[in-house]
Amino acid sequence: MTISIWRYSHLALAVSSFVFVFLASVTGIVLAFQPISEQLQPFKSDGFDTASLAETLSVFKKTYPEVTALEIDKNDFVSASVITEDNKNLNGYFNPITAEYLGEKVEPSKLFQFATTLHRSLFLKGVGRFFVGLCSFLLFLIAVSGAILIIKRQRSFKKFFSKIVNDNFAQYWHVVLGRLSLIPIIVITITGVYLSLLKFNLLPESKASHTVDFEAISETPIQEIEAFTVFKNIPLADVKSVEFPFSSDVEDYYTIYLKDKEIVVNQFTGEVLSEIKYPLVTLISALSLNLHTGKGSIIWSLILAFACLNILFFIYSGFAMTLKRQKAKLRNKFKKHKCEYIILVGSENGSTIPFANAFYKQLIKAGKKVYITELNKYETFKKVKHIIVFTATYGEGEPPTNANTFLEQLKSTEQLYPISFSVVGFGSYAYPDFCQFALDVDRGFKAKKAHQFLPPFKINDRSLEAFNQWIYSFNKASGLVLEIPQKKLVSPPKQTKALQVISKTDVVSNPDDTFIITLKPSRKQRFNSGDLLAVYPENDYRERLYSIGKVNGNVQLSVKHYRNGFGSNYINSLQENAVFKARIIRNSAFHFPSKTTRVLLVANGTGIAPFIGMTHENTSKIETHLYYGLREKQSLNVYKKDLDSALQKKQLTQLHLAFSRVENKQYVQDLLLEDAPFVAETLKNNGVVMLCGSLAMQKGVLQVLNVICEKYNQKPLRYYQSKKQLKMDCY
């Protein structure tokens, strides 16, 4: 599998540094709580923010015979070292307004000391510091390459923060959390690198020293310290530390360290003897330290802790994805120039490959010589007669990375024999350009005058059912008898929860063989109309999905009974009060919009189930029209009560019905065409159209909608689809 250079670097950097990064993140999380625990201590005094240096120094001078040092930390705690009346040395925190002793300086706990040393030097002193600094730099590169990968994935810088589709836990959260913590991580790494450079003296830090003209120094005019203009003008909050004159000799002076400069002040006259402004490097160093440690800010400390936690998750999810990709590698039994069948795979994250591999194995089993490879490795295969393409689509209808040059290669490459081809597209309705690239590949082969063995086939959300349908048609067309062992493609039921049957209508009383079943989750569970219920009739890998509606807190689904239907027979066999296990799958792409101008619900047959739930949930009474197609008038009976009550409560504005088995037969798309200006206006005003029902209906409706959009709004339907104004769940 080709991996783009960015992804490869992202991975290579991660592999080479993850041990150190892991240690640094774990200790980083611990250390983030150091500034928080400091800030929570009660040593910040009222009046600190308004006090001037003159006030504080004079109150200290009056209270204590001798003050040797005064310091103000990032938490605005004032610490000092003084000698008391009874000649005792007193160190600790003081109140800057009253000079009252508040308590001993709290030394960082052993845990923090241990974590600090591990964090910055791994107990390896200089060598450790070098490695930690290096890994900080590597992590910076990882963050940058990750950001580039996100931009590539989203196809533009502007869409950096737009929605992504959740089709894989590790991948989804890797991207979502990656975007959230990108800035903090970049800040952490840059400041980390900067602090390392500082430790190794690689930055030009000039140490200017004060030059005091001792010849000109004078003891007069003598002033009280509270009258020193320079001290009066310095707010205490700007001071970092004060050095006191060592003796009462005039040549001993005050040195005041401020955030951006140092000043030397005559202890008798208050005259400024020298001033040094800090160079930029010093200021950046101080800023780096604060940003890296979170000193002085609880919120920033929490952000740092969150970022470190995310890094740990990235290590986990990154490797989980890599392992998954490794599993999806392509392996061959035969040489490519000896094979009659060539399977070409296009996949961005490897999820298409298990299907291609399963098909490959079955063809081999059927005694065929088969070669499987990536689309980009297309060339003249000396014996090829049949080409089968399995491909995903990436981003907005573009090829996946390992297929990005295929269409060009196809144009310029000739095969020795006439070939037949079939294309299978994998994708998701959640994206507007469902399987677009598969269609492009199909067109590309047609342009080469190759024989289309089977029409292009689209598979939604890795549906096994759909894949089997295609295998069925492939068998029919080729005369082969392939059967795909499904166990490897679908995992056995997971996360199932118990549901109890509350009520069920009778199949016999309905001309469409349709029944409604209402289920109550035995434990409280969050779900919405439009979510899916996965049912496992044999409690094995085989699952059947049903769109559900939420009615009075219960799960309601509408099922068409087929005599040999695997799922429908099972559900129909459930009696009232029976309890069985199933899984509710969140399908947020098909939820009723919480805010919009108008909603058009379009359904046929059992597709009405989620919509009944939605009208029940539409308590804010968003204008909602239901276009519903059935066979005959009696078909409506099972739903009548629910629909009437929704109409009465104005949660459903209007009901439009089409009957397909009566005189003047009508389909639901005909209703839409009749209301064309209304439909066009709905989309134009940011309204939403939702589709649920058979694929045949979907096809017909999409055609009609496209015509309407082009005619009235001069925009293709996909314009609205990309704005998520078209939601579909068809089967």
């Binding site: 070292s81 000649n87 160190n91 030394e107």
Partner: protein, 161 residues
């Protein structure tokens, strides 16, 4: 058992009182250490009392509390590391290049003018270690003087408090 414990407590108290009365007169000195403008990590500074035979007698003051580095101050560590006696004054912060620090050290009066010296040794992570950065005999003159350093210390100033 209880009686024994009380007796023990009494003993401890008596011993404490006794040792207190034995302690001789001492004086506190203000002591300022001014560092040179070097770059790199902050320095560890250890101030010790040296007896007339040139051996360590007592640790007066330690600047820097990260014990991880103590054994880098190797001469002193040979003396202190074995016994780990309590030191009266350990402060957290090491002293950075160009900075200064004022501390209070307590010296028994009997050690002045009797052949004892005071030693300031300094060490910086991944840099030099100066065993005798500053060392001078304790006399009634030197305890109020300024002494030049030979390593990371520019000078030391002392005065009785």
């Amino acid at each position: 058992m209880k009686a024994f414990k009380q007796l023990l407590n009494l003993g401890v108290v008596l011993f404490g009182l006794l040792s207190f009365t034995i302690a001789s007169e001492s004086t506190k000195y203000k002591c300022m250490i001014q560092m040179i403008n070097y770059t790199g990590e902050s320095a560890y500074v250890v101030v010790s009392l040296i007896n007339p035979n040139g051996e360590y007698e007592k640790t007066l003051y330690v600047q820097g509390d990260d014990e991880e580095w103590y054994h880098d101050i190797s001469e002193w560590w040979k003396f202190y590391g074995k016994k780990r006696t309590n030191i009266d004054a350990i402060t957290g912060a090491t002293i950075a290049g160009g900075a200064r620090n004022i501390s209070i050290v307590d010296i028994e009066d009997s050690k002045i003018d009797s052949g004892y010296s005071i030693r300031f040794e300094t060490a910086v992570e991944d840099q030099e270690y100066y065993t005798k950065d500053v060392e001078f005999p304790l006399t009634s003159e030197t305890v109020k003087s300024k002494q030049q350093g030979t390593g990371f210390i520019r000078y030391v100033r002392m005065m009785p408090n």
